[in-house]
Symmetry: C2
Subunit: 135 residues, 2 copies
Amino acid sequence: MHRTGLKIGDLARAAETKVVTIRYYEKIGLLPVPGRSAANYRTYDAAALERLRFIRRCRGLGFTLDQIRELLELSSDVARPCAEVDEITANHLADVERKIEDLQALARELRRISASCNGGGTISNCRILDAIAPG
Amino acid sequence: MHRTGLKIGDLARAAETKVVTIRYYEKIGLLPVPGRSAANYRTYDAAALERLRFIRRCRGLGFTLDQIRELLELSSDVARPCAEVDEITANHLADVERKIEDLQALARELRRISASCNGGGTISNCRILDAIAPG
DNA sequence: TCTACGGTCTATAGCAACTATAGGGTCAAG
DNA sequence: CTTGACCCTATAGTTGCTATAGACCGTAGA
């Protein structure tokens, strides 16, 4: 029955974020202005947490705040014309798919390095650059 | 026979980077100090291009410059003890694998949005946040 | 030859996305 | 009733670029 609402510190812990960062996102309009308690403390709900988690994960994936804003608008603006949505999703999808490929190449190479270490010696022919920066 | 070596502008074009960014990376020690031409122009080789491409791709994937530095050291420090390498690769691998999962969820949702648009109407139940910010 | 232009140089200032600090108010526990 | 952990606003500092100023280099056309 957690009806009480989250304080900013609770939200920060739940989304693995800094308190100041949350206030910063509010300031730039990326998070909606929350309600306030009698003591003038910000109060948040589950929707705010979901939104913040999304923002943080996307930031960790290399999206800019403007790109994230666009993705969030895509999410909320339910009556948006499809031509526009298609354009935006197509662009982001191409971007996302290339990121996945890069990361998979990097993961393969990290696993290879780790495996080649099992003998207990030293790594001798690391191709980590090749993995992700092909000629 | 392209023996001449790349000028900074050539390198920037080849790695889709700004000239100033290259000089910045040199300043902070992420790119080695290059040779100079008679006219005091920086000259680069294929190895520098590979390194720069790696850095730019990793940045696009949300790694910090310090993390990239660590990955690059992993690549060059061929006589490094394996226990240490294992620790570093394991950490980065876990990180990379979570990023891949996040991106795959995001890609699925972007495709779904795009597909649900085919009728030519509007998107009506976007779950883009759910995709990447599960409760 | 000269001169126009595009590229390079150093140095510095500004911007995006945080992050840390100062100075103060709130509140539950001891 | 005070101590400690939290919250508030406001501002300055950090990271990772990016833009600008003012000057030098190099080559192609008049």
